[in-house]
Amino acid sequence: MKMQDLSGKVAVITGASSGIGQATARLLVAEGVHVVLVARRRDRLTALADELGEAATVVEADVAAPAQVKALFDQVRARFGGLDLLFNNAGIGINAAFEDSTQEDWKTMIDVNLYGVLNCTHEAIALLRGRPGAMISSVSSVGGRYGVQNWSVYSATKYAVVGFHDALRKELGPDHIRVSVIEPGAVWTEFGQNVSEAMKERREKLDALRAEDVAQALVYAFAQPPNVLVEEILLRPVLQVAP
């Protein structure tokens, strides 16, 4: 009853320059997957690719920019002829009471967390079609299930991702493309701008998840046989109660 052999598969990972994206890249390469590392920070991607060797390709792109996303997937098509996994991981959270927040910050979060997912998914579908076990997986959050104070707009984008996936799953299921979402609680990453000292302390107190723990969830879902769709995994540190 072993997991599927993933060797030879091709994965696009957005937000691959740090945190969950980076950990996932490492884990997938260990499983024999070729990873296309996507982020804005080329130097970080290059350092990771140096570590991973021939199993990694670097593509600098901003997922919020449709032209850059199109160029990314054109490159994937030209080089690999198809795609087995799109991991929509890039995300931004800017912490603020809504009353004090700015339209610019709302736009930044909506552009990356929602438009980023839409841009990449729209380009990827044609490449995923006809590949056994193909999957689109996106990182939402427990903030996509529960509203949390000072994360209102972030939460709105993550709720949007969950709703988008529920509909997309029904559209793509008949084509055997799996649509999956991962909802982590507190994770130790660079994630979160303007995060207060109090919140940093909270992460410490909760003994937050490591990026690898979330990466493991992605690998578990991806490694299921093609007829098994892991629609949703919600995970938290054992000590996290709320949300």
Partner: protein, 247 residues
């Protein structure tokens, strides 16, 4: 990754067939000690014999989950024999679908007794030991029907919604003890579940729907994934289904 499954004592209700049986095999193969509970003693004794012949440690205890004393006895037997209980898998379930206007009230009662009370009795039996141990993992089985409702499956859906609420509430309560809680919601899996339907026409429709059903091994892997994570990682919810299942 270390094998976090090896050596754990796992109590499984509904272990005589389907999800429970597949999970017992899968976890035993990875070195877990499995304590098998079900009404059909012969089936679980045969399974225990098979696991033993492959070098697995196990125990079969005849258990009707609608009887609190028997569930307490199942967990008690695990403690008496193996000294602890690391995982309680509340798996036993029934799914006798029918529209409400057919008034199959006996079926409603059985679903409430097995699917809800059975889970609560499992928690009641395992929780005191886990609290005392300051470690443990309670896994309960909901369903895609625990997330939505469709005509003809209302009482089943209600019981599976209840399981999800119980598991989530339990999660919030047991943090001080460092316990883990998981609720797994499968879609159509190839088990005896449709055989519990007492209305012939509904049974036939459900079997057709189950054409796309996936192997019980898919459930066993979900359980193994949740148990196998590091102690400080709590896999709270897993929802999975056949790729082709829209509902």
């Amino acid at each position: 990754m270390d094998n976090k499954i090896k050596g754990k004592v796992v109590v499984i209700t509904g272990a005589s067939s389907g999800l429970g049986e597949a999970t017992a095999r899968h976890l035993s193969a990875q070195g877990a000690t499995v304590v098998l509970g079900a009404r059909r003693l012969e089936r679980i004794e045969t399974l225990a014999g098979e696991l033993a012949s492959n070098g697995g440690k196990s125990l079969a205890v005849q258990t009707d989950v609608t009887d609190r004393e028997q569930v307490t006895g199942l967990v008690g037997a695990a403690i008496a024999t193996f000294g602890r209980v690391d995982v309680m898998l509340n798996n036993a379930g029934l799914m006798p679908h029918s529209p409400l206007d057919r008034l199959k009230v006996d079926d409603w009662d059985r679903m409430i007794d097995v699917n809800i009370k059975g889970v609560l009795y499992g928690i009641a039996a395992a929780l005191p030991h886990m609290v005392a141990q300051r470690s443990g993992h309670i896994i309960s089985v909901s369903s895609v029907a625990g997330h939505k409702v469709r005509p003809g499956s209302i009482v089943y859906s209600a019981t599976k919604h209840a399981v999800r609420v119980i598991s989530e509430g339990l999660r919030q309560e047991v943090k001080p003890y460092g316990l883990r809680t998981t609720v797994i919601s499968p879609g159509a899996v190839d088990t005896e579940l449709p055989d519990s339907i007492t209305e012939p026409d509904i049974a036939e429709n459900t079997r057709k729907f189950y054409d796309i059903a996936i192997s019980p091994a898919s459930f066993a892997r979900a359980v193994a994934y949740a148990i196998g994570q590091p102690d400080d990682v709590d896999i709270n919810e897993i929802l999975f289904r056949p790729t082709l299942q829209e509902y």
